[in-house]
């Protein structure tokens, strides 16, 4: 585990998303103290970028999204979206796809999209044209008259994305949108996001996720842990910091791994981890030593989970119990 200062991407957010010193705490209940969920977040995202916020449950991702879309008021700090800082000015430029569908299950697909167009003041004729286009892109033209409650989860998610895209937002916030989807539906949803982003390049897409493969598809990854940004950069750059390959010794409480091989070992939640260079003799020696000791180990290119573990000492796939977001409860 390292770092007191998070690594920062050197990206200039010219009139994109600019967050400065953002802090937030949920009020305490029944004599419990308020719980701080975000600690002085600074984040710049330039127009056209697709950025993932990666972190375990409870790391503050959803709260950050809710602050950006101004559902929640910050305790301190500022948010600027394409130059606008007042919630009333930010909202027309933002769209959000939450974990749960932002759709009325008792209305038809078309009625949901029509109402969305009204909420954003899209003129009727223009709205009809956009609804038709969005439904075509989502492959849902033949389901437009179906009640949303009759759709599968995957189809409902695509309708929700179509709803969110209807007013052509400059900032699209996706809050763990693929939770509960099977792999095929998840892939279909992500491809729909990609194709929407290709069609309109100036849009910022901010995806909160705890899934590594989703984060890996983005231009940039912001790692969050306990309400703080611990690392920030393109996924390849973040991984390269840990070397080309990494040896991980699993689940051992002993000092055996460091004592066996002379590597730059780091203690992780799952055991020990160290970077490994290309020297084939060196690799062979390490493999031999570890295999002879009977320890379970892996050698593989580093993943974003390794990066997270490197920066926090915690595992990405475990919930952060320290901070519970009231939002998701």
């Amino acid at each position: 585990m390292t770092t007191t200062q998070p690594q920062r991407a050197t990206e200039t957010a010219t009139a994109g998303l600019v967050i400065r010193g953002l802090s937030f705490s949920y009020p305490g209940r029944r004599r419990r103290a308020a719980r701080q969920v975000l600690h002085e977040i600074d984040l710049d995202i330039a127009p056209g970028r697709t950025v993932a916020i990666l972190g375990p449950n409870g790391s503050g991702k959803s709260t950050l999204i809710k602050l950006i879309c101004s559902i929640l008021p910050p305790d301190a700090g500022s948010i600027s979206v394409f130059g606008a800082s007042r919630p009333a000015d930010i909202r027309p430029m933002v769209s959000v796809v939450f974990q749960s569908d932002g759709l009325d299950p008792h209305l038809t697909v078309y009625e949901n999209l029509r109402d969305q167009a009204c909420l954003y003041g899209i003129p009727r004729r223009e709205a009809q044209s956009r609804i038709t286009k969005q439904l075509e892109e989502a492959g849902l033209t033949d389901r437009r008259r179906d009640l949303v409650k009759t759709l599968s989860r995957g189809l409902a998610r695509r309708v929700d994305l179509a709803r969110a895209m209807l007013h052509r937002p400059k900032l699209l916030l996706l809050d763990e949108p693929t939770v509960g989807l099977d792999p095929m539906a998840r892939e279909a949803f992500l491809q729909m996001v990609e194709s929407e982003q290709q069609a309109e390049g100036g849009r910022i897409v901010l995806l909160s996720t705890h899934l590594i493969d989703e984060a890996d598809r983005c231009d940039r990854v912001v790692l969050m842990h306990q309400g703080r940004i611990v690392a920030d950069g393109p996924p390849t750059t973040l991984r390269e910091e840990l070397g080309d390959r990494r040896v991980t010794v699993l689940n051992t409480d002993t000092q055996s791994a460091p004592s066996l091989c002379d590597l730059a070992w780091e203690r992780t939640a799952g055991g020990w981890s160290a970077p490994l260079d290309h020297d084939s003799d060196r690799v062979a020696a390490v493999v031999s030593q570890l295999a002879n000791s009977g320890l379970a180990f892996t050698i593989a290119p580093p993943t974003l989970a390794d990066v997270f573990e490197h920066h926090t000492g915690a595992q990405l796939d475990l919930d952060t119990d320290v901070i519970q977001e009231q939002a998701s409860e």
Partner: protein, 275 residues
């Protein structure tokens, strides 16, 4: 999502986005009202529950138990069933307000409410839409009961009907607005049922809907007179029994306006609680 080299078109073309001025709060209110009406039509159980319960109560109490009650002399020749009819219309308004308010909690759980809250629509327009939508649904149900008036030898003139329907409108707006205000801060339907039992039903029971307040003890009579729902009940009952009370009607609309203002304030108030 990766490896794109997009042109920052939004940065160079700000007009590509949405102009806030295009979002009309009144259109938003209309959209939410329309949604409430559609949902009502598509949920026949709500119609059955809202109309069936007061009708049954009216039949049992107005007819079956009529001999068990001894109305005070102030009622004159009016039967207990005719006395009870406006009270049942008030009850329809209360039930409809409850159903409409509970839908806010469901909207929040479904996620629909969040998608509305992140839109440019001002929150007062959302509160107004939920209240007016629920009130229209309630008004239509309560007005249906007016059809029973001829069966009770109530000689209803055109203006008496208009005044009674205005009283019903004020009652529906007031009760739905109170429901919206409570439901906005209530997280579960179970908690809302507690609110219903503590607030709505006592208010109705103490509105003179079931029992004439003239026979009540002094302190209870005072409670009934101070209960705003009593003004609503009286605003409906007066025209039906040939004694329209403009004071009660004005009081009902003041109550409705105050409740609507309260609901709008609660919905618009910033909160750190997650919606």
């Amino acid at each position: 999502m990766s490896t794109l080299s997009p042109q920052p078109s939004f940065a160079t073309n700000p007009a590509a986005g949405v102009d806030r001025s295009l979002t009309s709060p009144w259109v938003v209110t209309g959209v939410i009202v329309r949604r409430e009406l559609i949902l009502f039509v598509r949920q026949p159980a709500r119609v059955a529950a809202a109309i069936g319960t007061p009708c049954l109560l009216w039949l049992f109490m107005g007819s079956g138990f009529a001999q068990s009650f001894r109305p005070p002399e102030q009622l004159g020749d009016a039967s207990y069933a005719s006395y009870l009819l406006p009270g049942m219309m008030t009850l329809v308004a209360v039930f409809a307000a409850i159903f409409s308010s509970i839908s806010i909690i469901q909207d929040r759980q479904d996620g629909w409410l969040q998608s509305v809250l992140v839109s440019p629509a001002p929150r007062w327009s959302i509160a107004l839409g939920k209240t007016l939508g629920g009130a229209i649904v309630a008004w239509a149900q309560a007005a249906l009961l007016l059809a029973a008036a001829p069966l009770l030898d109530i000689h209803l003139t055109f203006w008496a009907a208009i005044l009674a329907l205005l009283g019903v409108a004020a009652t529906c707006i007031a009760m739905t607005a109170v429901g919206v205000a409570f439901a906005w801060r209530t997280e579960t339907t179970a908690a809302f049922h507690a609110v219903m039992n503590l607030v709505f039903m006592p208010a109705w029971l103490l509105s003179g809907a079931l029992f004439p307040p003239q026979g009540a003890s002094a302190w209870l009579g005072l409670v009934v007179r101070l209960n705003p729902l009593s003004w609503c009940t009286q605003a409906i009952r007066g025209p039906l029994l040939g004694e329209p009370s403009f004071t009660a009607l004005a009081g009902s609309f003041i109550f409705a306006g105050a409740a609507l203002a309260c609901a709008t304030w609660i919905v618009s108030a910033p909160t750190k609680r997650s919606t």
